[in-house]
């Protein structure tokens, strides 16, 4: 793997994916499950208990944003390292 041009690109990619997956984990397994009982004492958007909101609404919105953020950053990385198609 040392000589091929993918080395640095691949490392940057892995860092990006790990960062995104940390957020993915925090909103669903963190806020939506493990911390949900504690967060439920806070209310948002009117009458939503926060933990319940993350589990049934917020985590899904975050997933959507995450994927588009990942796609946008990856397209930048492709160009930076000159590995894009065509």
């Amino acid at each position: 793997m040392s000589s091929d041009s993918g080395g640095e690109y691949w490392k940057a990619n892995i860092r990006l994916v790990l960062g995104c997956l940390v957020v993915w984990f925090i909103v669903s397994y963190g806020c939506g499950i493990l911390l949900a009982p504690a967060l439920n004492s806070i209310h948002i958007l009117g009458g939503y208990p926060l933990g319940f909101w993350f589990a049934q609404q917020g985590s899904i919105y975050t997933f959507v944003v995450l994927i588009f953020f990942y796609a946008w950053r990856m397209n930048q990385l492709d160009k930076k390292f000159g590995v894009q198609e065509d």
């Binding site: 091929d4 041009s5 958007l45 009117g46 899904i60 997933f63 994927i67 990856m74």
Partner: protein, 580 residues
């Protein structure tokens, strides 16, 4: 116009549209048949994926599940959406770069092993076939309930429609009909939800209505607080609070996420876009279209539950605090009683309906059966919406079932014609012969699915767990390691898949009977017997972990993959061409 005539018109019009599209989008080559010629726009592919993914279960059953399970149903909401993050970041762009036609094909090539490919084909066919049986049943039910046709006739009509557009058009025809089906199903789902949200909270957006005050008046309680209070007063568990074991909820969510990312009929959809870049954004668009339904469903569930409770025991108005008299029950109640999905037994003989939870000491529960499927289907009637909305819901349910069935049937037929026949048994087959084989395999798959739809095996309800368990424990880890861990070799991958699959199957069969044969379960399927409280449906995540560990360890002590495989992995890791 009568409801039945209206339903025939609406459903008939959608069918005419599907067939019109099918004729326009015939497949002429294997490339078009398997991956729609790789020419589908990423946003349109997102819509098609939405329809492909959202089945009769998502459309009909999920909101009902949420209505009765409350917070604990969040596992489905997070599990069936969070998987798309894994798909976008770990699988879809790389598999698109590889640029072949099927999932088992990648596994076979990457692990330079026909055994790996066959294992993948078997997992794919089992997972997809079990899934498609449920869709066929859904089509039959929708027809018989709304069009009052006999179940088998309805199923037959559904089979003919799928046959026309899937066999003729392959992936190309399926893709364009799925786009139309998405529009039908999302419209049918959101219209009643908007009406009901307006009615209860004065807010047109159901996602906001769920957090709003009752009647939109700040002096009233919040809808969710009201629902919690109503339920607790009658001896049910709080709607917004967790009831189940945390470890189980955690693993259940994880299993559904990994399973979602590993389901071949979903992965294949991302083979149809022109570029790697498109595959990344297309997963995002898929989730946008899916999220519209998945964030509406919690509102539909909670509002439907509240409406049901208020119908049986109003908390305001002239009859506040009084149970509904059985003789005064509304029309929709009578209609659903006829179907057997709603059942009342007057246990104390007072002529009134007592609907209470286990915590209530004063009454026995007299609503012996409230099927969760009623919630979406009866919602428009409960909310007294016009007939065209009810007709639309019928068309939406049928669209959801048809689109998922077509995607699954396509995955099955391409793994037979492309992986088994062309890939292993008859490598010399011409493109034309393979296309014909694909069409014959598709016809066969439709017949098998139709047969099981008419004679559902007793375990029909259990098999969805099997589909996700298989995908999570075998296919997802094999694909992910194939891309991210260069060192994993043929022996490691095959043993990993078999051990992950094995332990998951044994755990499911242990509690549900060997091959679901009744009476062969080793222990009763109750939380007390489960290992650490983990439900069989939630065990796929454990199977996946076993798969990862076994594959990694075995690969470490056996020879590294040959050089051309290492190059293959380097190639799929970058969107463009690798210069060596």
């Amino acid at each position: 116009m009568s409801l039945q005539l209206m339903t025939y018109l609406v459903v008939g019009a959608t069918f005419a549209l599907y067939i019109f599209i099918a004729i326009k989008a015939r497949a002429a080559t294997t490339g078009e048949f398997y991956v729609a010629g790789k020419g589908v726009h990423p946003v349109l592919n997102g819509m098609a994926t939405g329809a492909d993914w959202m089945s009769a279960a998502s459309f009909i059953s999920m909101a009902g599940l949420i209505a009765f399970k409350g917070y604990d149903a969040s596992v489905f909401l997070m599990g069936w959406t969070g998987g798309y993050c894994l798909l976008a970041m770990l699988l879809a762009p790389y598999l698109r770069k590889y640029g072949k036609f099927t999932v088992p094909e990648f596994i076979g090539d990457r692990y330079y092993s026909n055994i790996a490919r066959v294992v993948a084909v078997i997992c794919l066919i089992t997972a997809s076939l079990t899934y498609v049986i449920g869709q066929m049943k859904g089509i039959g039910v929708a027809f018989s309930r709304f069009l009052e046709l006999p179940f088998n006739v309805g199923l037959g009509v559904g089979m003919v429609i799928v046959f026309i557009y899937a066999v003729l058009g392959g992936m190309k025809g399926v893709t364009y009909t799925q786009i139309a089906q998405y529009c039908v199903l999302i419209f049918a789902y959101t219209v009643p939800a908007v009406f009901i949200s307006l009615h209860l909270t004065g807010t047109a957006i159901p996602q906001l209505g769920l957090g709003a005050h009752m009647g939109g008046d700040p002096n009233n309680m919040f809808l969710l607080d009201k629902l919690d209070k109503t339920l607790v007063d009658l001896g049910f568990h709080e709607y917004t609070l967790q009831k189940g074991n945390t470890l189980n909820i955690f693993l259940y969510t994880l299993s559904l996420m990994i399973g979602t990312a590993g389901l071949p009929h979903v992965i294949t959809r991302f083979f149809t876009v022109p570029k790697v870049k498109d595959a990344r954004s297309s997963v995002g668009w898929s989730l946008v279209f899916i999220a519209i339904l998945y964030t509406t469903a919690p509102a539909v569930g909670a509002m439907a539950r509240l409406n049901l409770m208020e119908t049986i025991r109003p908390t305001s108005g002239a009859n506040a605090g009084q149970w509904l008299k059985y003789d005064e029950r509304p029309e929709w109640f009578k209609n659903w009683e006829k179907t057997g999905l709603l059942k009342f037994e007057d246990k104390n003989g007072d002529g009134m309906i007592q609907y209470v939870g286990k915590g209530n000491k004063d009454f026995e529960n007299e609503m012996v059966k409230v099927d969760r499927d009623i919630m979406v289907l009866a919602n428009p009637e409960i909310a007294k919406l016009p007939n065209w909305v009810i007709a639309l819901v019928a068309a939406g349910g049928i669209a959801a079932a048809l689109s998922t069935a077509a995607g699954l049937l396509l995955a099955i037929s391409s793994s037979i014609s492309h992986d088994l026949l062309k890939g292993i048994l008859m490598p010399d087959m011409s493109d034309k012969a393979e296309l014909m084989a694909g069409r014959i395999a598709m016809t066969g798959a439709i017949c098998v699915a139709g047969y099981f739809g008419m004679h559902p095996p007793g375990f029909a309800a259990q098999v969805v767990a099997l589909a996700f368990g298989l995908a999570a424990s075998s296919i997802f880890p094999a694909l992910m390691m194939g891309i991210f861990v260069k060192r994993v070799n043929n022996i490691g991958a095959v043993l990993g898949m078999l051990s992950g699959l094995g332990i998951t199957l044994v755990y499911i069969f242990w509690f549900k009977g060997w091959f679901f044969v009744p009476g062969t379960a080793m222990a009763a399927n109750t939380p007390d017997n489960w290992f650490l409280g983990i439900a069989p449906e939630a065990f796929g995540a454990v199977g996946a972990l076993v798969n990862f560990v076994v594959a990694y360890v075995i690969s470490g002590i056996t020879p590294a993959p040959p050089e051309h495989i290492q190059h293959l992995v380097e190639d799929i890791r970058v969107p463009g061409v690798v210069r060596r």
